[in-house]
């Protein structure tokens, strides 16, 4: 990723500058959330939720796919335990993201960590992680990214609940914005042969698991499997190599 401009961002910058950088960085997420949020608002409103309830739900949960699933379960008359259990399983993937993100949030006060945790989504995690790895980035800017995405999510879901889709179906290819962002961030993550092997194994098993078992468990299962196999192959490879050298 190329730096936005020549100035070098620092955590000691004035808050206005940190705020500006964070909001700017979040644009692909906002773009991608808009069509999904609007669509969710429409579906939730049809399912009997008021715009106020939609806003509260987006604020409290802030996890798109689980919200879609919960609304359809509510419509089908599912009870609280079933909805909560499903939500937990669908959103458990954040556990892996949070574990990975922890390394970049050293020295952050526990209160701020707890607030930061609320904003960890697939999108903000992937975007912030890449920023942390590729250029000067800090937890304050990352926090602004999280919260900008949060506002975009709450806003677009409520808007969908009030005004309908607003966008014509497929407008401007916006439905591809998040996939495009993930693809690019994946490319940034392919830092070596074993990163590539891991991504390949994880992708193939995610497809297989999602076809075999349905549901949403495939993301966690495939990520764990892919990373573990990738690491195992890396260890075996370097052991072999080390062994040959010592011969």
């Amino acid at each position: 990723m190329t730096a936005l401009n020549s100035r070098s961002p620092s955590i000691h910058d004035p808050l206005s500058r940190i705020f500006e950088d964070g909001v700017r960085a979040a644009w692909p997420i906002c773009l991608g959330y808009l069509p999904i949020g609007l669509a969710f608002g429409v579906i939730a409103q049809k399912g009997g939720l008021t715009p106020f309830e939609i806003g509260i739900m987006s604020l409290l949960v802030f996890a798109g796919s689980s919200q879609f699933i919960a609304v359809s379960m509510m419509g089908a008359g599912a009870g609280l335990p079933a909805i909560v259990m499903t939500t937990f399983m669908v959103n458990f993937r954040h556990f892996l993201m949070s574990s990975t993100m922890a390394a970049y949030l050293r020295g952050v006060k526990k209160t701020w960590l707890s607030l930061y945790a609320y904003g960890i989504t697939d999108e903000s995690f992937a975007l912030n992680l890449t920023r942390f790895q590729e250029e000067p980035w800090d937890w304050k800017r990352a926090f602004v990214v999280n919260q900008t995405a949060n506002i975009a999510w709450i806003g677009s879901t409520v808007l969908g609940g009030v005004g309908g889709t607003l966008l014509p179906a497929g407008a401007f290819g916006m439905d591809f914005a998040l996939l495009g962002m993930f693809l690019c961030l994946l490319v940034f993550q392919l830092k070596g042969i074993f990163h590539g092997v891991t991504a390949f194994l994880s992708g193939v098993s995610a497809v297989a698991f999602s076809l075999l078992f349905g549901g949403n468990g495939h993301i966690v299962a495939a990520s764990l499997l892919g990373a573990t196999l990738g690491l195992a192959l890396k260890k075996i490879f370097f052991r072999r190599k080390g062994g040959e050298k010592s011969c």
Partner: protein, 109 residues
């Protein structure tokens, strides 16, 4: 009705927040053994790939495998653009444009 819904949302919020919070709260600022660091380093490509791949090559309900989805056909050039340009903006915008084109010409209606 409203309180029922709010209770569901609150419970959903709690079980969503916990897996986001626990690792961050416990692990931030702690030195992990090298093997865990090496493993966690492979988690981002693994997660990204696990998020992307099913969205590209599975479709319909019930889900089935399909290589001829607009998502997959657009993802291939988008991936190459990302590889070449290493620019998030160029990738996202050209991906959107290609997806829009695909919707117009390859998968109308």
């Amino acid at each position: 009705m409203l309180t029922d819904h709010l209770l569901i949302f609150l419970a959903m919020g709690i079980v969503t927040y916990l897996p986001r919070w626990v690792p961050l709260y416990v692990l931030a600022g702690r030195d992990l053994p090298g093997i865990w660091v090496a493993w966690l380093e492979l988690i981002p490509p693994a997660i990204l790939s696990a998020l992307i791949a099913p969205a590209l090559v599975t479709t319909g309900s019930p889900k089935h495998f399909d290589l001829l989805t607009p998502e997959f056909l657009v993802a291939v050039p988008t991936f190459l653009i990302a590889w070449k340009t290493r620019s998030l903006a160029a990738t996202v915008l050209s991906g959107m444009f290609l997806y829009w084109l695909a919707g117009l010409f390859l998968f109308p209606g």
